[in-house]
Symmetry: C2
Subunit: 223 residues, 2 copies
């Protein structure tokens, strides 16, 4: 796959060995997450909102109520920054200075637009549902016209992008390796506990495989 | 504890039953996380950076290399938005419309300042280390003067703040409770896997209790 061009915004200045501009790395990280943080400004003040997202081809999507302040602002095609950060562990060095966090992250810059076509909106919402719970979309009742109207779906082309990753053990000062202190990694990950049925669940409905097999980092199907 | 005053920025307009302005709720959520997303602007463009943070009293702190673009920008006392979002699970309703995410989140608005006093910086870094790995600070070698100089510690008063939470089962349309589809919650949480010793760990060093007892949501000690 091709590379994104470093620009003044996405070029990593510090620890540049951790930076990646290739589409494969960036899409691998985007596809392993489902919650992003969206940055935007209103009256020159920054706002950061967490929201679920999904990727299809070279677009990133997110959605919400058409009444949402964040969505109403962003669909005016203002500059947006999206950050996806997956926390993989603590890095405990022999000094505070070299202690760190293992992570995978992506920053995207651009402007988003609202989908206006109902079929396009439905396809996007189906892709989101299938990313999180594959096979569930066809179990649900059809989306109502007024629900679709009350939902804004935004998409943004993935054009200005950078990934940063850190993994592996600490990098200590050479003389510190002699110290009598524990050092290494404490891996962290998001896990699912057993599903909790709704108190009003109809009797006789089995727990679906998209829950028993749930993997927060589950990859979307090939498209 | 007292309440924060809703303002044009922190007042929740949609689903306001999910909003909380009391210090107790806001501090409970802040103290359960350790990674935040910081929003700021450079040349009118929004940026979002993930970073670790900690709270002491009515201040939130974060830190990094003095060369960091984010820290150099923010210590100029520009407006900042901090978002802490903890993902607690998927909410699977009987329709896509009412499916959601259970979460705890806090948004803070303000301006940050760099700590200039070395003792203050050291105390702040110790508080951070003790938040994540209680008891480790005294095991580490002392921080060197040039390390302290190379580290910027920012603090921001927690003044304009709002928490939002969602928990519990889905809220479906009444007629949808008759549908033959699974509904409920899939709880999600961050867990630690067993620690991975550094390949160069000195023989005979036991795994410390701050790792075996590690809880990502571990509360800071009373202060």
């Amino acid at each position: 796959m091709d590379n994104f061009q470093p620009t003044t915004r996405n070029r990593v200045k510090r620890l540049h060995q951790r930076a990646h501009y290739d589409r494969e790395t960036i899409y691998r990280i985007l596809d392993a997450g489902f919650v992003c943080h969206v940055g935007y400004t209103i009256d020159d003040h920054p706002y950061v909102t967490a929201t679920s997202y999904w990727r299809c081809d070279d677009q990133i999507y997110w959605h919400g109520s058409s009444a949402s302040r964040m969505l109403r602002r962003i669909k005016q095609k203002v500059p947006v920054c999206i950050n996806v950060s997956l926390i993989d562990g603590l890095v405990l060095a022999r000094s505070g200075m070299h202690s760190s966090i293992n992570y995978r992250s992506v920053m995207l810059f651009g402007k988003a637009a609202a989908l206006n076509d109902d079929q396009e909106k439905l396809q996007a919402l189906e892709a989101f549902s299938e990313r999180i719970t594959p096979g569930r979309w066809r179990e649900l009742r059809p989306v109502k016209a007024q629900e679709l109207k009350a939902t804004t779906v935004l998409s943004m082309a993935i054009e200005e992008a950078v990934a940063k990753e850190r993994n592996g053990p600490p990098n200590d000062d050479e003389e510190d390796y002699e110290l009598d202190v524990w050092a290494g990694e404490l891996p962290l990950r998001l896990v699912a506990d057993p599903p909790v049925s709704d108190p009003r669940l109809k009797p006789g409905i089995a727990t679906p495989s998209y829950l028993t097999d749930f993997d927060p980092e589950g990859q979307p199907k090939d498209r």
